[in-house]
Amino acid sequence: MSDPLDAVFRAASGRIIAGLAARFRSLDLAEEALAEACARAVTAWARDTPRDPAAWLYRVAERIALDRVRQAGVRAAARLPEPESDPTPEQLMLDARPIPDERLALIFTCCHPAIHPEARAALTLRLVCGLSTEEIARAFLSAEPTIAQRLVRAKRKIAGAGIGFDVPGPDGWADRLDAVLTTLDIAYAHAHADGAGSGRHADYAREMLGITATLALMLPHEPEVLALAATVRFAEARRPARVNADGVMVPLSEQDPARWDTALIAEGRHYLAAAARIGPYRPRVVAALIHAEWCARGSLSEPPPWRNILTIYDALLSVRDDAITRLNRAVALAEVAGYEAALEEVDALDLPGLAHFLPYHAVRAGLLYRLGLNEAARAAYDSALALGPGDAERKWLERRRAEVS
């Protein structure tokens, strides 16, 4: 794919696939039509770029899908519109009508309980967020062929079993909400890992604000929905401070609060307050409290709130005890109880695939270095770097590694 096309695809493929799938009731048709539209774009955009490239892709894919449906004669399966004449290439170039947003429906489809739990998030990341199989494999600490196979099976299940493309009615929510939330957690964590925010996931990190706001509007009494909306806002608020002028990642405790987005933090607090009123001990609500605590820091001259952070992590452990929570807690523990205690915690972690989890090596390397175990620290930094971090994090890890004499 050419560069402008690649960028448009990343930003808009989720919306386009969702719009087409909801309209034509077929995921395969949606994907094939978009692929064909991308192929046509290579020639059509060679001379002139459309006013709204995403709208161009959607309209062209829509025509391709319509033609296929008509050829196949399966009118009944699709919601065919009134016949209209084909737009001219010039009209397409000027078309900037918005693409209908059916992503929420697509998320619920991808997270249907009839789909294997391990496939749901992969499918959502692939279809709604436009990630490649390789990127998903990295996010899940899995092998690429495993993910590819999961995706194929899940898509077959959707088509074969007739899983619909609608936002479920109220009695369908409970069954499906947890799968949706877990999926969005993973999707956002992946976007957030790109510290510079200029990488391939920058757009959908921002879109998560919209998706979580929509979910919160539809489910105002679900504390974890509200907490997720809060977390995404706290995390996005800090984005401007996450990378310095040299493009190097800035760890949370060294970020200048003056550069945080106060409007987003206020929005986050609004969601979190509502969540805490309904379900103060739900895991996502407690996790959002950690973000809120950091965002309460007024300036760099105030000491980082490590002790409070550790207290909240202890509370989180009582409702969600897993290796990732323990790893994050160890960072706070190091500042409160010392590096040795933290390293003991980290070395006691047990999770298959941890060796491929970059933050594990980065946290370990920092602790080893502070304890003067330079050789082990270097090896740990090398392990982290070998896992292919984003630009900003790579530069930070390289600097830290260079400090280890």
């Binding site: 249907h112 079993a161 899983i163 619909g164 609608d166």
Partner: protein
């Protein structure tokens, strides 16, 4: 789409010696059929698993066995064929199927004839 809803139950729960349990569940199935209405295309209960005979083909050789194809506590005891817009609609019908006690309903789409 057409879906087959296959009902798996431990048929011992109907074996109360008086037929009262069977009578009660049949009444519930009749009410269920009326509630589902025209989406219900077909359905039937099966005779007890003690009446089952299995024809097995293995390497071209066919043999007969007394009993169901697999011995499990819960057995296929009946089925419905329904018309539903999508899986969720079929699941909604499946959830209403009356069961005497514990059990499971497997929801399977039926292959469309070629050209449909």
């Amino acid at each position: 789409m057409k879906y087959m809803l296959m009902i798996y139950e431990n048929e011992a729960v109907y074996d109360d010696g008086t037929g009262a349990a069977m009578g009660a569940i049949i009444e519930k199935h009749m009410a269920f059929g009326e509630e589902v209405g025209p989406a219900m295309l077909h359905g039937a209960g099966l005779q007890p698993v003690t009446t089952a005979t299995t024809v097995r083909t293995d390497g071209g050789v066919q043999t007969l066995h007394d009993g169901p194809f697999a011995e499990t506590r819960e057995q296929l005891g009946g089925f419905y064929l329904v018309e539903a817009a999508d899986l969720d609609a079929a699941i909604a019908i499946a959830k209403k199927i009356p069961l005497a006690a514990n059990g499971a309903v497997e929801v399977r789409p039926v292959m469309a004839p070629p050209g449909m």
